[in-house]
Amino acid sequence: MSSEVTLARVTHSEWTKLWSLRSTRWSLFVACLAMAGLGPLIAAVSMAHWNQLGEFQRLTFNPLERAMGGYRLAQLAIGVLGVMVISGEYSTGMIRSSLMAVPKRLPVLWAKLLVFSGVAFVLMLITALISFFASNAIFTEHHVNQTLSSPHALRVFAGSVLFMSVTGVFCTALGTIIRSTAGSISAYVGLMFVLPVVGDILPSSLSNAINPYLPSVAGTEVASTFHNPYTFSAWGGFALFCGYTLLAVAVAAVLLKRRDA
């Protein structure tokens, strides 16, 4: 049997690596719990107060975003795990074993991106479905009805799942560039959670010009039903986020290939 190193084999190896760490299984469990559970929880809480809500509040109630709200928390678990997929190898020295087995190096990065974004996509798709239908079951009791064919529903649903998968890719690229776990997670949290807050503090003329370009703002347009005139369209924003991610992956690939391990 030939024993050449192929991308398929490296992918198989990365699959084994991903599932053989307890920390990975926990992070994925937390991501799934957040994605599947938060939507129904928010639905139950808001429906408990439904009878006290006024006419206007009932009309503007957005069941879709509430049902999919879990992604706001799940993305954090996905992002952190995306970083650790590679930074964990640098902190333990495992990267040297990996690169001695695959000295061409880039297949390791491609395989990690493939395995992790694939796993994130499938798990988030399943848990998003659970959240959507469980939340709807709660809404329906109070005659708030929506289906996947409601306006924007399919797009917001798919968008949330896609945003989280691409976040995983973005964070694995960040981890490859920065290498340290703490540094990479700080960079991720800074870019995705702190920058938008800073953006909101700026004077509105400035923030309207800058905010749409922030990766978190651009990336989540696709998971949102509301758009103000300054922001990108749903898929336009998502395309920009994918562009940032591709750039990060390109930098990661060059650095992985060039740097001493």
């Binding site: 049997m1 024993s3 190896s13 084994t16 053989s20 760490l21």
Partner: protein
């Protein structure tokens, strides 16, 4: 036969520090070659350059005639264990080996095989973080043997091991040599080399000091070694020895240390003078002493 490892004119600079300085040597197939040098001499760096983990600043390091990174099935050709741990502590030993095996399509049965070979059956399913240093070394050796390579590179395999672990490493090296594998083994301790290595490459401060057989290395260092001689009539013998041009000094136990004459010459001189000898011994220079005498100028961090 072509060299298995061919290092030619390799230098490696980390910022200001020149870790390896225009180093050239080759490792021949089917032989255990020792790679010696004081701590900080550049042994690990050289091994990392050979294994493609670091890129040389100049020169080239080839394995079986190719750069390591161009090998199609590297684990099948060269197995390596680096000094620093290169294992994720959260994973079990079995899964660590399995993940490495899968990159080459090496079957699970081979993973079990190498685990048995290094005697880790009972702990293979436990997290590596809970391993002792010796168990970690064994796992490193298992990873190096995974692809059944003809060449094995081991960086300080005995470092930090207890006597039992050291004996295990020694037996392992002997069995690898008996199988005809090429072994390239680094150490800053000579005692391990003495038992297994046939050829030595000695470096200090990143430069080549010696590239020679173990016997030649010891012979070179023993050339000035003394002859130990004991006689009831030290005064007469001393006078005769000095007369023959030797330098003589008294040992604490009353014996004489003679320099400048061979054992044969000392014996013949005593016979001519009709002196009784109780002992006549050529002082054996151990590899350790040879190493110390030859590398003493190259110790980077000299003890004060």
């Amino acid at each position: 036969m072509a060299a298995v490892i061919e290092v030619s004119g390799v230098s490696k600079r980390y910022g200001e520090k020149l870790a390896v300085d225009d180093l050239s040597f080759s490792v021949q197939p089917g032989v255990v070659t020792g790679f010696l040098g004081p701590n900080g001499a550049g042994k690990s760096t050289t091994m990392r350059l050979i294994l493609g983990l670091d890129a040389p600043s100049s020169g080239s390091a080839l394995v079986n005639g190719m750069r390591y990174r161009d090998l199609q099935s590297p684990l099948r050709e060269v197995g390596a264990m680096l000094e620093a741990r290169a294992i994720h502590t959260g994973r079990s030993g079995y899964n660590h080996l399995l993940a490495l095996a899968q990159t080459h399509g090496i079957p699970r049965s081979r993973v079990d095989e190498v685990i048995n070979m290094v005697g880790l059956e009972s702990v293979a399913r436990k997290r590596v973080g809970s391993f002792s240093l010796g168990m970690g070394q064994r796992l490193g050796v298992a990873a190096a043997l995974l692809g059944d390579p003809a060449t094995v590179i081991l960086d300080e395999p005995a470092n930090g091991l207890d006597p039992e672990g050291i004996r295990w490493i020694r037996n392992l090296l002997k069995s690898l040599a008996a199988e005809g594998k090429t072994v390239f083994l680094s150490s800053h301790l000579m005692s391990e080399m003495e038992q297994t290595a046939e050829h030595l490459i000695v470096i200090g401060k990143g430069r080549l000091i010696a590239d020679t057989s173990v016997e030649a290395f010891v012979a070179q260092a023993s050339s000035g070694a003394p002859v130990r001689v004991r006689t009831p009539d030290s005064a007469a013998l001393t006078a005769a020895l000095i007369g023959a041009g030797a330098r003589v000094s008294a040992e604490p136990d009353g014996a004489l240390a003679v320099q400048g004459l061979t054992t044969e010459q000392v014996g013949e001189l005593a016979a001519a003078e009709r002196l009784v000898l109780h002992e006549l011994t050529p002082v054996q220079v151990s590899l350790e002493d040879a190493f110390m005498s030859i590398t003493k100028d190259s110790v980077e961090y000299q003890q004060i």
